[in-house]
C-alpha cells in the first residue's frame, strides 16, 4: 500500500462517488450525486480518462421532433398531398382557386406548396391552372418518406432513429425532402457513461486526500507572486464554446464591392443617376421606339406621383425625336412613326442602368472616358424564386476613338475572370440601342450549362450622334443578383432581400 494520493477537491468528490457507485453511471447522475457542477464533473472524468483511471463511454442519440413551422401544417398530411388528391378528384387539373376550395387550404399555403409540387414533379402550374403530373398520379397510392415521418411525429410527439427504422422510414430521404421547410427538428444528445477502471479503483482504494487548487488567476496573486505556489484546476479544453459571429456586410453588397473594385482597377470612374427616371433617358435617348413592348405598362413601372419629368434644354430632344422618326442626320432610316414628346416626359422606374450610361455620355461625350454604375433597376415581374421586381446591374461604357468590338469582349472577359469565372461564351443578341450586340454566358459546372449573365454592344449611331458623340461607345449591363445566386448557391432570390440572420452570420467572408 502506497501513501494517500493528493487530488483536487473536485476530483476527490467525483472519484469517491464513483467508488460508491458500483455500476457505470451517466455524468449528469454522477454530478448530482457528488453534488458538483455537471461541466466540472465532466472535465474531471475526461481528465482522469486520459490517465486511464476512468472509462468513458459516449452514446450519441438523435431525437426528432416537429419543427417550428409544423404548427402551420393544416392536417396530418403535407399540403401538396391534399392538393394532388384534390386534383385527382377534379380530373387531373384545376384552377388554383378551385383547388383552394376543394382542399380547404389557404391560397397562401397553396402558393407555398407550388415549389414542392414542382420539386416532387407531382404537379405543374400553367397559368392559373395546376396540372397533375404522372409522378403525382403514382404518388397518390404511395406515401413518401417525408410524409411518413411527419405523420409519425404528429402521432408520437418525438422519435429516435431506431423508432423510425422500425417504421421502415428512410431518414435521409425524408430529411432531404423536407430540407428547408422547418417541419422537423433534429436534436442530438451525447451522453457519457463513466465508471472506474481497475487502475482507478486501485487509486481510490489507496485513499485520497484533497489538495487545494485555484480556479482563477487574480491580480493579487500576480502582484504578490503567490501564483508560484498555486496549482490551477485543469479545464476540459475540448468543450466547445458558445458560437459568436463577426458582424458582416450583406453578401450581395460584397459582390457590389468586388465589382466596383474590378472596374476601378480597370480605370473606370463611377457614376450614378436617379432610379426614378424619365422615359426620355430610359427609352427615347436609347432609340427604343415608343411602341416597343418593353415600354408597355405590362413590363415597366410607371409613376403616378410625380407625374412628369422635365426634358433637357436645347436641340437634344428634337434631335432624338427626329432620329426615331426618320433617322435624323445619322444615316439611319429610323423607326418611321410619329414621335411624341409627351410620352418621353413620363417618369418610370428605370428598367436598366443604361439610363445612367447615356446620361454620362450626354453630359460629357469627349473621349477617352470609362464610366461604370452599380444600381437598382426595376421590371414589372411577379415575385418567384428566380424573379424580383428589383435587381441590380453593373453598367459600363467606354468612349474611345480606338474602341472596338474586340475590346468589348475583352473587358467583359476581364471582368468575369476577376469575378472567378474561367469559361464564357459570347453570342449574338438584339437590343434596340446597340449594334453589334452580344449576350454573355458563363459556364456552370454544377448545372453543366451556360448561364446568361447580361447584354452588351456598341451604342448605335442613332444613340450616340444626337448626343454629340462620334466615337464608338462600348456598353454593357450585367445582372449582379445572378452572380450572387451563383456564388452563394442560392435556390431562391428572395433570400437576398428577406435574409435569414443565420445565413448572414454563417456565410463566410472568404469565397
Amino acid at each position: 500500500m502506497g501513501e494517500k494520493q493528493l487530488v483536487p477537491e473536485m476530483d476527490f468528490q467525483v472519484l469517491t462517488q464513483l467508488q460508491k457507485t458500483e455500476e457505470p453511471i451517466s455524468i449528469p447522475d454522477l454530478a448530482e450525486k457528488a453534488g458538483v457542477d455537471q461541466s466540472k464533473a465532466s472535465a474531471v472524468c475526461l481528465y482522469r480518462a486520459d490517465l486511464g483511471e476512468i472509462e468513458v463511454q459516449e452514446n450519441v442519440e438523435s431525437e426528432w421532433k416537429l419543427g417550428k413551422k409544423a404548427k402551420a401544417l393544416p392536417g396530418k398530411s403535407l399540403p401538396e398531398r391534399d392538393i394532388i388528391e384534390a386534383l385527382n378528384k377534379m380530373g387531373g387539373n384545376a384552377e388554383i382557386p378551385k383547388v383552394a376550395e376543394t382542399t380547404g387550404l389557404e391560397n397562401k399555403v397553396i402558393g407555398q406548396s407550388l415549389r414542392w409540387l414542382e420539386q416532387k414533379k407531382w404537379a405543374q402550374k400553367d397559368g392559373k391552372t395546376l396540372k397533375l403530373l404522372p409522378n403525382g398520379q403514382s404518388a397518390l397510392s404511395n406515401q413518401y418518406d417525408d410524409e411518413k415521418l411527419i405523420k409519425y411525429l404528429i402521432e408520437h410527439g418525438n422519435a429516435t432513429n431506431p423508432d423510425l427504422e422500425a417504421q421502415g422510414i428512410n431518414i435521409k430521404t425524408a430529411c432531404d425532402l423536407l430540407n428547408g421547410r422547418n417541419f422537423i427538428e433534429e436534436k442530438t444528445r451525447k451522453t457519457r457513461i463513466v465508471c472506474l477502471t481497475p487502475k482507478g479503483r486501485e487509486l481510490v482504494n489507496q485513499g485520497l486526500e484533497v489538495r487545494q487548487e485555484l480556479n482563477q488567476l487574480t491580480t493579487e496573486m500576480l502582484r504578490s507572486g503567490e501564483w508560484r505556489n498555486a496549482t490551477f484546476r485543469p479545464y476540459d479544453v475540448t468543450v466547445p464554446g458558445d458560437p459568436v459571429y463577426s458582424g458582416k456586410d450583406h453578401p450581395l453588397v460584397s459582390i457590389f464591392d468586388q465589382t466596383r473594385r474590378v472596374f476601378v482597377e480597370l480605370g473606370f470612374e463611377e457614376t450614378e443617376s436617379p432610379f426614378v427616371e424619365s422615359s426620355f433617358w430610359d427609352f427615347d435617348a436609347l432609340f427604343q421606339p415608343q411602341d416597343h413592348p418593353a415600354r408597355d405598362m405590362q413590363d415597366t413601372f410607371y409613376i403616378k406621383r410625380p407625374n412628369t419629368c422635365r426634358l433637357p434644354d436645347g436641340n437634344l430632344v428634337d434631335n432624338i425625336g427626329r432620329v426615331h422618326e426618320n433617322g435624323g442626320d445619322t444615316g439611319s432610316i429610323g423607326w418611321r412613326y410619329l414621335w411624341d414628346k409627351e410620352q418621353a416626359k413620363k417618369p418610370v422606374l428605370r428598367t436598366h442602368t443604361t439610363a445612367a450610361s447615356v446620361r454620362a455620355l450626354a453630359s460629357n461625350p469627349k473621349p477617352p472616358r470609362k464610366v461604370f454604375c452599380i444600381g437598382p433597376v426595376f421590371r414589372r415581374e411577379t415575385v418567384d424564386y428566380k424573379h424580383l421586381p428589383v435587381f441590380h446591374q453593373v453598367e459600363g461604357i467606354i468612349i474611345d476613338e480606338k474602341a472596338t468590338f474586340a475590346n468589348l469582349l475583352g473587358v467583359l472577359s476581364a471582368f468575369y475572370k476577376k469575378m472567378g469565372f474561367d469559361r464564357f461564351d459570347f453570342r449574338p443578341a438584339f437590343f434596340p440601342y446597340t449594334e453589334p450586340s452580344v449576350e454573355i454566358f458563363v459556364w456552370s459546372e454544377k448545372k453543366k450549362d451556360w448561364i446568361e449573365m447580361g447584354g452588351a454592344g456598341i451604342f448605335r449611331p442613332e444613340v450616340t450622334e444626337p448626343l454629340g458623340c462620334t466615337t464608338p461607345v462600348l456598353a454593357w449591363g450585367l445582372g449582379l443578383e445572378r452572380l450572387a445566386m451563383f456564388r452563394y448557391e442560392l435556390a431562391n432570390i428572395t433570400h437576398l432581400y428577406r435574409a435569414r440572420i443565420n445565413w448572414l452570420k454563417e456565410t463566410p467572408l472568404c469565397r
Binding site: G247, V276, R305, L409, D425, P428, P436
Partner: protein, 614 residues
C-alpha cells in the same frame, strides 16, 4: 419571348451539309438563336378544322382546339394523335422574323455554311388588284396600308401547314405588335370571284358576313362587324384594336364576298383547307414599309417551305398612287470595309467583308471605290443603318473567334465619394457586431405609414401600375424593412442586430425627374433586454467615425415609445444639424409587425454628414 419548335426533319432536309446535332445547336447559337435544346413533341390533329397542335413531353394533350374551339372532353374522337416529332426548341429572335420557321432558318444556315447566297424568288405578274378606300387613311379610321400576294401550286403537307400557321402567329407577335401594326390573312383563292378586290372602310353595322368557325348555312351565324367584336372569341380578344374607330376595315372580292375584317377575323367562305391550291395573302397595317416587309418575310418563307410554288404580284391602287406587291427590290446599303475593321477590331479587307456578308445572305457588288454596295435580301427587316451590316460581318466571322483585348488608352479609375461613406458605415457597424441586410426599395403606404402610426404624407413616389399591394411606392424610410426582417427571423436566436444603408425617394418638383433620392442608414436591435441606451451608444459610435459628436434632443414620434425617442443631432465642424431619429419602437408598432420582443432603432440621413459644409 415566345418559344418555337422547329421540326428537325423539315430543317435538315433543306440543308445539304451533314451537321451533327450538337454542332447544329452550336451553329444556331453562333447565329444568335437562343436554342433551348432538343425535344420530342407529340403532334395532334383536330379533325374538326384540320388544326395541328403540338405538346411537349411534360404537357397534357389539348382539351380544346386552339383554332376552332372544339371541346375534346365532349368529343374525344375529334382529337387525332398523329406522331412523335423531333424538334429543336428556341426562343424567337424578334428582329429576325425570317428565321422563325424551318424554311427561313434553313435558308440562313445554307448561307452561313456557304451553300448558297442571296436566293432569288421569281415574281410573276397577274391580273389581281386591290383598291384602297381613301377613308382608311383618315386618322379616325387609321389602317391605311395593305400588301397582297398570290401563291399558286401550293401543296400542303402536315409539316408545312403547321409551320405556316405558326409563322403567321409569330409574325403577328414580332412585326405586328399583336396585330396592331400589321396582321396577316390567308385565303383560298378558288373561293373568290373576279380580280378587282376592295380594301374599304365600313360602318360597324353596315354589313354582315359569316366569320371563321361559324356555319355558312345558318342565317343567324352572319354577324355585323360590331357583333363580331362582341361575340366572336377573336373579336373579343382584339376588340381594343378597332372599337375606338367609327369605321372598320374590310376586304372583299369583286363580287363583294368578304375575305376578312382585318385585323380581327377572316370570313368562313374563303377558309384555307389542306386541299387549297392557290392562296390569296394580305397584310394590312399602319406603315407601308412594315406591311411590305411582313409580306416579303411570309411569302418567301412559304416558298422555302413548299417548293414549286409560284408567287404572283397584286396591284395595290392607293388613292394617289399604284404599287405592285410583293416588291422584292433589295434595299441598297453602302458598307465601308475599313470602317467595319475599325469598329470590330479584326483584320478585314474588301474581299473578306464581301465573303462574310454573302454568308449572311446579302448580294455584294464591288467596284473601284473603297466601299461595297450591299443588296439586302427583301425578307430582312432589321437593316436600318450600315452598322447593322457590320454586325452581320461580326456574326459571320463568329463571336467566338474574336481576339480578347483591352482598350489601349489609359484612364484613371475612381469610385463615387458616396460609396466611400457607405463603406465607412459598414465598417463601423459590422465592427460593432451588426449584420447588414438589404430590403426592397419598393414598399407600401401600409408599411411606411400605417404600421408605424405615422400620418401619410404627400411627398412619396407612387407607382401607377403596381404589381402587388405590398409594392405600391418607393420607400420613404428604411425602418419598416428592418422590422420586416426581424419578423422573418422570429425563430432565430436573440438578440439580433441589423442595419441597412440605402436610398429612399422623395417627391421634389425642383428636380428634373420630379423626385430625388437620398442616402439613409438605419440600425435596429431586437431582444429581451434591448433598450434606448444600447442603440444610442451604437449611433454615437457611428457618428464618431464621421468625426461628429452626437446630441439627442427629446421629441415625440408615434412610431416610438413616448419619452424614449429623440432627434439625432450631429455636431460636425462646430455646426449642429438634425440628421435623424432614435428610440424604442412603440409596442403598437411591434404588434403591427408581429414582433414580440422590444426593438430599439435609429435612422439617419447620410447626406448632411458627407456633403461639404458651408
Amino acid at each position: 419571348m415566345p418559344v418555337v419548335s422547329i421540326s428537325l426533319d423539315t430543317l435538315l432536309s433543306r440543308i445539304k451539309t451533314e451537321i451533327p446535332r450538337d454542332d447544329l445547336a452550336k451553329k444556331l447559337r453562333q447565329l444568335g438563336c437562343d436554342v433551348e435544346g432538343y425535344a420530342t413533341v407529340k403532334r395532334f390533329k383536330c379533325s374538326s378544322c384540320d388544326n395541328i397542335m403540338e405538346i411537349t413531353e411534360t404537357e397534357n394533350p389539348p382539351v380544346v382546339c386552339d383554332q376552332c374551339g372544339a371541346d375534346y372532353k365532349v368529343n374525344p374522337d375529334l382529337l387525332v394523335f398523329l406522331n412523335d416529332h423531333s424538334v429543336i426548341r428556341m426562343e424567337l429572335l424578334a428582329v429576325r422574323p425570317d428565321m422563325f420557321d424551318p424554311g427561313g432558318l434553313a435558308r440562313t444556315l445554307r448561307g452561313y455554311l456557304g451553300e448558297e447566297t442571296h436566293p432569288g424568288y421569281e415574281l410573276h405578274s397577274g391580273p389581281y388588284s386591290v383598291t384602297v378606300d381613301p377613308a382608311l387613311s383618315q386618322k379616325e379610321n387609321f389602317r391605311p396600308n395593305i400588301a397582297c400576294a398570290i401563291i399558286r401550286n401550293m401543296s400542303f403537307t402536315e409539316d408545312t401547314l403547321r409551320a405556316i400557321m405558326k409563322l403567321q402567329e409569330n409574325l403577328h407577335w414580332a412585326l405586328g405588335r399583336d396585330r396592331k401594326r400589321a396582321s396577316i390573312g390567308v385565303y383560298d383563292l378558288d373561293k373568290l370571284e373576279g380580280t378587282d378586290f376592295q380594301y374599304r372602310a365600313v360602318a360597324n353595322d353596315e354589313i354582315k358576313f359569316t366569320p371563321l368557325g361559324y356555319n355558312l348555312n345558318k342565317d343567324s351565324d352572319k354577324l355585323s362587324p360590331k357583333e363580331i367584336l362582341d361575340k366572336h372569341p377573336k373579336g373579343v380578344q382584339y376588340k381594343r384594336l378597332l372599337e375606338e374607330f367609327p369605321k372598320y376595315p374590310l376586304l372583299n372580292d369583286a363580287k363583294g364576298t368578304i375575305l376578312s375584317m382585318p385585323p380581327i377575323i377572316n370570313g368562313e367562305i374563303s377558309r384555307v383547307t389542306p386541299n387549297s391550291r392557290d392562296l390569296f395573302i394580305d397584310i394590312t397595317g399602319t406603315d407601308e414599309r412594315l406591311v411590305n416587309k411582313t409580306l416579303n418575310v411570309f411569302v418567301t418563307s412559304v416558298a422555302e417551305l413548299a417548293s414549286g410554288v409560284k408567287i404572283e404580284q397584286v396591284e395595290i391602287r392607293y388613292p394617289n398612287s399604284k404599287t405592285s406587291t410583293p416588291d422584292f427590290t433589295s434595299q441598297k446599303v453602302k458598307v465601308s470595309p475599313s470602317h467595319a475593321e475599325r469598329i470590330l477590331g479584326i483584320d478585314l479587307d474588301k474581299k473578306k467583308v464581301k465573303d462574310y456578308l454573302e454568308r449572311m445572305g446579302h448580294k455584294v457588288e464591288e467596284d473601284d471605290s473603297d466601299e461595297l454596295t450591299v443588296f439586302v435580301p427583301p425578307y430582312r427587316n432589321d437593316i436600318l443603318h450600315p452598322i447593322d451590316l457590320v454586325e452581320d460581318v461580326a456574326i459571320a466571322y463568329g463571336y467566338h473567334n474574336f481576339p480578347l483585348s483591352l482598350v489601349p488608352t489609359p484612364t484613371v479609375g475612381k469610385q463615387l465619394k458616396d460609396q466611400e461613406y457607405f463603406a465607412l458605415c459598414r465598417k463601423s457597424l459590422t465592427g460593432l457586431g451588426l449584420f447588414e441586410v438589404l430590403t426592397l426599395i419598393l414598399s407600401s403606404e401600409e408599411a411606411q405609414y400605417d404600421k408605424l402610426q405615422l400620418p401619410r404624407d404627400n411627398d412619396h413616389v407612387i407607382i401607377d401600375n403596381p404589381i402587388s399591394v405590398e409594392q405600391t411606392m418607393i420607400r420613404r424610410r428604411l425602418l419598416p424593412g428592418l422590422l420586416d426582417t426581424f419578423a422573418a427571423n422570429a425563430d432565430q436566436e436573440l438578440p439580433q442586430q441589423i442595419f441597412e444603408v440605402g436610398y429612399i425617394s422623395q417627391v421634389d418638383e425642383k428636380c428634373e425627374t420630379g423626385s430625388r433620392e437620398l442616402s439613409r442608414l438605419a440600425g435596429a436591435i431586437i431582444g429581451p433586454k434591448v433598450n434606448y441606451s444600447g442603440i444610442r451608444s451604437i449611433c454615437e459610435a457611428l457618428l464618431r467615425e464621421f468625426g461628429a459628436t452626437i446630441k439627442t434632443v427629446p421629441t415625440e414620434n408615434p412610431a416610438f415609445i413616448p419619452g424614449r425617442v429623440a432627434m439625432v443631432h450631429a455636431i460636425l465642424n462646430g455646426q449642429e444639424m438634425v440628421v435623424g431619429i432614435i428610440g424604442e419602437v412603440h409596442p403598437q408598432v411591434l404588434e403591427s409587425f408581429k414582433l414580440v420582443y422590444p426593438v430599439s432603432a435609429f435612422e439617419i440621413q447620410l447626406s448632411p454628414l458627407v456633403l461639404p459644409q458651408n
